[in-house]
Amino acid sequence: MIFDPLLVFTRIPKVLKYLPITMEIAVASTLLSLVIGFLVALIKIRGIPVLRQIAAFYVSVTRGTPILVQLYATYVGIPIILRALHADTGVVNSIPPVVFALIALSLNDAAYSSEAIRAAIQAVDRGQIEAAHSIGMTTWQTLRRIIVPESLVIALPSLGNAFIGMIKGTSLVFVTAVVEMSTYGRQLAGRDFRYLEMYVTLAIIYWVITFVVSKLLSLWERKLKCDERAVGGGSGNDTLTRFAEKV
């Protein structure tokens, strides 16, 4: 048989055992990338000299090179740099491979999300910030209580896309010797050479996950846009009073 449809489904449970690793890498590198992206965005907005040039260089290089190259460069390059700095070889060799994967993926993602974060922060109405200052909130309080929540509403669609991209991007971390879902699937398929079935299996799993994640993201987005909901928690109350006013 050239293609065994049954095998596509019977292998799903086996491959799914490695889903937690895939998701852990995706979530951890996304969170890390948000922190880095936020810092880069602040550097750009504040126009801090020197740091601004470094940030621009980093974004340009990261966006201008393939992720695969970045993964290789991190996996091979960081140990070389550490050894050059006279770090203990035993220590360098004992760094878990997943660390390199996290570094490369988050730095890559942050280069893109920093732009989305910058645009979102700058889109917050100046009057909101002035109002926060006028009631005595400090810069930090204003950032945390007003600017971040408001810019999150603006940035969420593109950050959500980045997260979905990240889930799929984890399939490249075999480069750093990390075994996640795709790598494990390939290993499994190597035993009986049923590669095509395995890639279909993987495709189905990735598609289902990203489908669920994008649904959850749009629910979250709706929750954040609390001001667009009907008054009184969406009960029929509002329409009723409006109706009553008409009559």
Partner: protein, 251 residues
């Protein structure tokens, strides 16, 4: 008492405020009038450090400092003890009316949430919005939004209240409700109030002191009767003759 001495502010080469002296006691209502571009709003914004003054000395209550060399603590002190009501309301978009009012009490004054909410409801009641506590700003009319903004300012128990053209962005039928609320606040005599307004009848009625600002300078200062009734300068006479002051205006 709030006192400004020799306040100067320039934007690039244009000097907007050319040495303003102003003193308002607690419980006193001062109204700043003048043509557009005379520096009225900039004056208020400097007090709240939304603009940085170039020169001058500020005194509010016990504290007095050089406004051009204000420390972080000076700025925090001014912002905590003054409250601005903006022309465009500037309510926090994703917070309900009640959350807008409690935000400062919880974040800045560190009041416990339930206490802040209790006081927030009282204040919203005071501005006539008890039934709108859970509404988001975009579900409120302009007049209602501005009343929430006034409640938000009152929540901080400020020594000075600053009103920056509070009715200029409102539909005519909503102006009265906001002016009534401001009048009620003024009656309490518990703050120094500085109001920038084009509502001359309102100013005439409510102010203890009227300041006529022209091209960044205080041209006239006195009781409403003095400034409106017998302006000393030609410029003020012109301005006041152009705004019609009716005697039968009822708020």
């Amino acid at each position: 008492m709030i006192r400004l001495q020799g306040l100067r502010k320039r934007f690039n080469r244009h000097e907007v405020l050319k040495g303003i002296d102003l003193e308002v006691r607690f419980g006193e209502v001062a109204a700043v009038i003048g043509a557009s571009g005379s520096g009225k709003s900039t004056l208020l914004r400097c007090i709240d450090f939304l603009e940085t003054p170039d020169e001058g000395r500020f005194t509010l209550g016990e504290r007095s400092f050089d406004a051009a060399k204000a420390s972080k603590a000076d700025i925090a002190y001014m912002r905590r003890n003054t409250a601005m009501v903006f022309q465009n309301f500037n309510l926090f978009r994703y917070k309900t009316a009640l959350e807008n009012v409690t935000e400062g009490m919880i974040t800045v004054q560190k009041l416990p949430r339930d206490e802040a909410e209790k006081r927030g409801r009282e204040l919203l009641g005071k501005v006539g919005l008890s039934d709108r506590t859970d509404y988001y700003p975009n579900k409120l009319s302009g007049g209602q939004q501005q009343r929430v903004a006034i409640a938000r300012s009152l929540a901080l128990n400020p020594k000075a209240m600053l009103f920056d053209e509070p009715t200029s962005a409102l539909d005519p039928e909503m102006i009265a409700e906001v002016l009534t609320v401001i009048k009620n606040v003024a009656k309490e005599r518990s703050h120094a109030m500085i109001i920038v307004s084009h509502e001359m009848n309102f100013v005439y009625e409510i102010a203890d002191k009227v300041i006529f600002l022209d091209e960044g300078e205080v041209l006239e200062q006195g009781t409403p009767l003095e400034v409106f009734g017998a302006p000393k300068t030609e410029r003020a006479r012109q301005f006041i003759s152009r705004v019609n002051l009716s005697n039968n205006y009822v708020i």
